[in-house]
Symmetry: C2
Subunit: 206 residues, 2 copies
DNA sequence: CCTCCCACCGAACGCTCGTTCGGTTGGCGG
DNA sequence: CCGCCAACCGAACGAGCGTTCGGTGGGAGG
């Protein structure tokens, strides 16, 4: 077994167990067992339970932000950038359901400088969404209103991503168009606009 | 102290402590202290921790549903009924923030018939939202699509209600119009439509 | 005045938790 | 072949948990 592989396994196990049970209910013993180590063996690799939560959050947020940046880099128009935000979030929610659950639910349980660091990364993610809405906004909304909008959008996305709506990556992709149309054009206009939004997106370069 | 008053105080204390700490982190000792009883004294009134969670959820959901029904009863058009759903939810979120937090976060921790009972009440609430969207839908969407829509709407609402967006009941009322317009007409059209939606609502009878 | 019972409490039980400590390997540099 | 160190493990510690048990006091009923 390559060095570091154990470490990866531990973080994976921690992510799964914490997502399933919630941080406080997830016991270090169960994480150790799930990673294939003894209780004391786990403490050879990590300093404590809080550090475990931090490590999981830190890595997951880095991945999420990296995926979003990749998606935004290839998106030309504001509409397609919005679609990129939505699609990336839902896709991440499908592939890394456990990680997203922890990001949304358990990050507040951190404290001290670790909490600040994670909070900053969450903020960094939010800011990207804010920028997309800003360039899309035809009404010169204030920063506060745009922030509300971002929170509303993310609320919608997490509402989907946290529940068992997504059964395949295809689901995630289709649903992204529908959610994008709903957010952009509203419930009354969403259905007819969903297809045209998706078509516009397919015209972009790979 | 009137009989039953103690009981009310216990439920209030349980709701506050559970909302603040989360169910598993909320200790029976702290709830008892917060209600002004000893640990053993609390057990004179309730059978155990799970029952406490159930009682809080049951009462809170009854109140939420009752408030929604009252609001829907006075709303004539589908648009105003949607606004009633949104406003009631946000208003409840402002006045009973602790209760709403528990409804959204902790209900899954129940098990057995208690869980089923609470699940049914949650479903009953969701169904009311579904009906409003159905009569509003111009595209004959399928039941599944409408259910998704309801979940998206509730995701948005809870995204607001669980975070410190609401500072007053006026905030809740204003925000309800904006969210209603955003959901109905979309991000691009929401701002100009928000005022007209609110005006339409003010024309209805008290 | 005696009795009973409701409301309530102090103390303990058994359990699980996060964490620590004192080993014991097995492979590798010298 | 020796010594060392990284990589583990079994066992225990103290704290906190939900729950229970054996009371106690005081007001109402007889």
């Amino acid at each position: 077994m390559a060095i570091g592989e154990r470490y990866e396994g531990i973080l994976k196990a921690a992510c799964d167990v914490i997502a399933r049970r919630g941080f406080h209910q997830a016991s270090i013993r169960e994480i150790a067992r799930s990673a294939g180590l003894s209780l004391a063996g786990l403490y050879h690799y990590v300093g404590g339970k809080d550090e475990l939560l931090f490590l999981v959050l830190d890595r997951s947020l880095d991945r999420l932000i990296e995926e979003l940046d990749d998606a935004l880099a290839g998106a030309r128009t504001p509409e397609i950038r919005l679609l990129a935000v939505i699609r990336t979030h839902l896709d991440f929610g499908f592939r890394q359901a456990a990680a997203l659950k922890i990001i949304n639910r358990d990050w507040e349980l951190l404290s001290g400088p670790r909490r600040d660091e994670i909070s900053a990364k969450r903020q960094s993610y939010l800011t990207r969404g804010l920028a997309v809405l800003r360039e899309l906004d035809p009404h010169d909304r204030s920063g506060d209103e745009l922030l509300s909008g971002t929170n509303l959008l993310l609320g919608m996305l997490n509402g989907i991503a946290t529940r068992p709506f997504l059964r395949s990556r295809e689901d995630a992709r289709t649903l992204a168009s529908e959610v994008g149309a709903l957010f952009l054009y509203g419930f009354l206009e969403a259905a007819p606009r969903s297809a045209e939004l998706q078509a516009a997106d397919n015209r972009r370069p790979a």
